[in-house]
Symmetry: C2
Subunit: 206 residues, 2 copies
């Protein structure tokens, strides 16, 4: 594609580096920006630079935070005996938006993947164990919930962490895998359906 | 949606102001930027600001340009007796990419639309007439090609310009209606668009 101006070309190239945005979409966005007042380009660009230069991560759970310790970790209303392990930051947002969970989080920053060269040392697993080992008596961790992707890498990571936590006598659970709410049985894939039969939940009183 | 950080929230809000980008996509882009080196956010943001503050428009054809007169208007290899009238900048890019046209352009900046309150005075029509009237003897305009969208507004504008040009005895043509009626010029494929320039239809009575 030929551009009438180097400025347009630069902007299109930069914008099309973002995931899921091709040259045509980038051009559309560029021309949109040109039609907007200068202040809107300024504030967009300011927000992007500020985000990248000023962002901080919670030293406890490694979630994004404005302070040294994030609002979840520092909250007195959260159940500190419960830690939910997630792969990345969007997962925290997703679980928070369900409003069904009141414990803390721990962001691993990925899952164990030998193909991509990611071993346990690349993840925040040591930080998790340290966190559990050094918790104050009042905030003793009772249960760890594994909320990792239902992939081979996710399962490998869950297995690795479970083994480490079992050594410490901590209860480990995983979010249930099964048919999504509202999902039709006949359209569910065989692996999910098979697993949801094996891990069926009893309706009987115990 | 609740965000763990004001920085994220600001970035998501700014990015989701772009057309066709919702909150979820904006969040995905934001988290992508966080994973990239700081320099890539810097250069993205630099390109956006530079684009908006330094962009210039050609004083002859009103296309985007790096100089006072754009590379097309100042080129010695272009046929200066031929002017193609387009609605907006992406249309120039679209026609240039067909490599079927070797004349000049004139960007109107829109089409006549009484509903949106756009009359002939809001467009660069006076500038077009002035350009034609004051052309040097060597660069006399022989033909004007109307390449406006095949919509009612586009046709109204074509009709208006045709009348003005007929008074001056200039040949007026329109790109052939290979474009589906109701279709937008900038989304037309290059082959169709290229052919519709070659098979333009004269508006003059023979």
């Amino acid at each position: 594609m030929n551009f009438p101006s180097k400025l347009i070309e630069d902007a299109v190239n930069e914008i099309s580096r973002l995931p899921g945005i091709g040259k045509k979409t980038a051009l559309r966005l560029t021309l949109h920006l040109l039609k907007q007042p200068e202040s809107s380009s300024q504030s967009l660009s300011h927000a992007i630079v500020k985000l990248r230069t000023e962002v901080r991560y919670c030293i406890i759970c490694h979630n994004i935070s404005d302070q040294e310790i994030c609002s979840i970790c520092s909250s007195h209303r959260r159940d500190k005996s419960l830690i939910c392990i997630v792969e990345d930051i969007p997962d925290v947002l997703a679980i928070e938006n369900t409003a069904q969970y009141n414990g803390l989080y721990h962001v691993l920053g990925g899952v164990i993947s030998p193909i991509q060269g990611i071993g346990p040392d690349e993840l925040k697993i040591d930080s998790l164990l340290h966190r559990i080992d050094t918790a104050a008596a009042d905030d003793k961790v009772q249960e760890v919930i594994l909320a990792l992707s239902a992939t081979m890498e996710g399962d490998t990571t869950s297995f690795f962490i479970t083994r480490k936590l079992n050594e410490r006598g901590i209860k480990v659970s995983t979010i249930s895998r099964g048919i999504p709410i509202g999902g039709e049985l006949e359209f569910t894939d065989e692996v999910t359906l098979g697993r949801s039969i094996l891990t069926r939940i009893s309706y009987n009183a115990e």
